[in-house]
């Protein structure tokens, strides 16, 4: 009978965390900003595979890291939201509950599986002025180990998150109009991309949760709209 090698739990966790961080740092970052008319989600993404997606009426998702893993989590989120909205009411689908569920699921994998998920996720919710108690926006960030945090104003996920966070802390102000928010988001993403002076509109994926839009508030901006907003 062979004895298993002893590895300290601290070492296991540190190794897993390093593995996950490395995986996430290989991909590009994603920026989310609250603006005058809602919440804006942006990512540098030249491919047609989306990093940002609609979850429900007022809830959107952004993921960075390994595409197959965060896209799977996005789909799980859509299923969760649709079943919840179907069995209760559409207003009962909220970002906080979903972010918590993500945190549990990702944390579980981090603790119990060999390979941690190389993902970081963001769940955003836009407020609705017509629903008492639901007026405020909400932004949650879920990391590869399941740690969850809430954010006001803006949030960055991905390898360059800390650098971009300090950039936005200086540049961001509450209640900016859409055009300014898009420009600020691009400037932030540019800082993360190596040496590229200007991210072209066709290489940006930009979605918004529009407060005033009736029903489903998620809207994906077309390249033409983006070009106009950026003044390119």
């Amino acid at each position: 009978m062979s004895m298993p090698f002893y590895v300290s739990p601290e070492q296991v966790m540190a190794d897993k965390a390093e593995y996950a961080r490395k995986g996430i740092a290989r991909g590009k970052s994603s920026v989310t900003l609250e603006y005058e008319g809602g919440v804006l989600l942006m990512a540098e993404n030249p491919s047609t595979l989306s990093k940002i997606g609609e979850i429900y009426d007022r809830v959107a998702f952004a993921g960075v890291g390994k595409f197959s893993e965060f896209d799977q989590l996005r789909k799980v989120g859509v299923r969760y939201a649709d079943v919840k909205g179907y069995s209760y009411s559409r207003e009962d689908v909220r970002a906080k509950a979903l972010a918590n569920a993500y945190s549990q699921a990702v944390g579980d994998v981090f603790t119990n599986q060999m390979k941690p998920l190389e993902v970081e996720m963001l769940v955003a919710e836009v407020g609705d002025d017509n629903l008492a108690g639901h007026e405020k926006n909400a932004i949650y960030r879920v990391q590869f180990d399941g740690s969850i945090s809430d954010h006001e104003g803006f949030c960055v996920i991905g390898g360059a998150a800390e650098e971009l966070h300090s950039y936005l802390t200086n540049e961001y102000r509450a209640g900016i109009p859409l055009g300014e928010a898009v420009k600020l988001g691009r400037n932030a993403l540019q800082r993360a991309s190596d040496g590229e002076p200007r991210v072209a509109p066709e290489n940006l994926e930009v979605c918004q949760l529009e407060r005033q839009r009736p029903g489903r508030k998620f809207n994906r901006l077309a390249t033409d709209q983006l070009r106009e907003l950026l003044g390119d």
Binding site: S50, G53, E54, I55, K75, V76, V78, R79, Y80, D82, V83, K84, G85, Y86, S87, A97, A101, Q104, A105, R216
Partner: protein
């Protein structure tokens, strides 16, 4: 709420079946009871017809339970997404539920796959849902909806009718179903013309519902006294827009005025 089940596909109704079976009625026991003995609300007359920019779908607002009125303002025409509508006839409970699941189904597919189903795909999905209801239909809870929408690839309005087995039949001009469907269909046959305007199509729809209400006691038509008007949805490339009550009221009053005159003319 359970997070993450075993189902991996993009259909909401299959997701319910696989991971949440307790949400669906247990059809295996249905044959043991005769649901015909249950008095449940039934929806009556709905119709759809094409017009130059798309398709118009309309339904009265009455639901009956045997010979009694169950509801005077039930909704029978539902938008299932930005470019499609379903109109329900038959047992109201399962029919409304079917319309609701279809709406979630289309939205769910769009979110999971990143693009929406083709109009024909949507019509086909509804067909499968009706087929699944067959055991209930055999026991008396029949659901026979109409489905219509604007086909964004072919740039035309299209409409389908169904039978209880899920049989799906595309119609080229118009269709009416429900207890007053026969009369509404006869009326549409006379007023329909290919390429008619939106205004004419709404008029034809209101006249057909009025005719159905005239001949079929279970159809509500326009209820002027209570201010309850049929729902008339117009679906075109621009999306779905319901006709305003004021427009429907005016059309209805014109129809009654015309009929009153001819009645007095016959008497003199």
């Amino acid at each position: 709420m359970r997070f993450g089940g075993s189902y991996q596909g993009s259909s909401f109704s299959e997701l319910l079946e696989v991971d949440f079976p307790h949400f669906r009625p247990d059809l295996s026991r249905v044959s043991e009871v005769d649901l015909r003995a249950l008095e449940v609300p039934h929806g009556t007359t709905v119709l759809a017809l094409k017009y130059v920019d798309g398709v118009v779908m309309a339904g009265d607002r009455l639901a009956t339970e045997g010979h009694r009125v169950a509801s005077r303002d039930i909704q029978k025409v539902y938008a299932t997404d930005d470019h499609s509508l379903v109109a329900i006839a038959g047992a109201a409970g399962p029919a409304i539920e079917m319309a609701r699941i279809l709406r979630v189904e289309l939205e769910h597919y769009e979110k999971i796959e990143g693009e929406s189903l083709e109009l024909e795909g949507k019509a086909n999905k509804l067909s499968q849902m009706i087929r699944q209801n067959l055991p209930m239909a055999m026991q008396g809870l029949v659901v026979v909806p109409l489905f219509a929408g604007y086909d964004l690839r072919r740039h035309a309005g299209r409409l389908w009718k169904y039978d209880v087995t899920g049989g799906r039949y595309e119609e080229t001009e118009f269709e009416a179903t429900g207890s007053g469907g026969l009369f509404a269909g006869e009326s549409l046959k006379k007023s329909y013309s290919p390429g008619m305007s939106r205004g004419d199509a709404v008029k034809a729809a209101i006249e057909a519902l009025t005719d159905a209400a005239d001949q079929d006691r279970a159809t509500g038509g326009v209820d002027i006294e209570r201010g309850i008007f049929p729902i008339v949805g117009c679906c075109s490339q621009a999306g779905i827009e319901n006709a305003l009550d004021s427009e429907i009221k005016e059309i209805y009053q014109d129809i009654m005025e015309r009929r009153r005159r001819s009645a007095s003319g016959a008497a003199s």
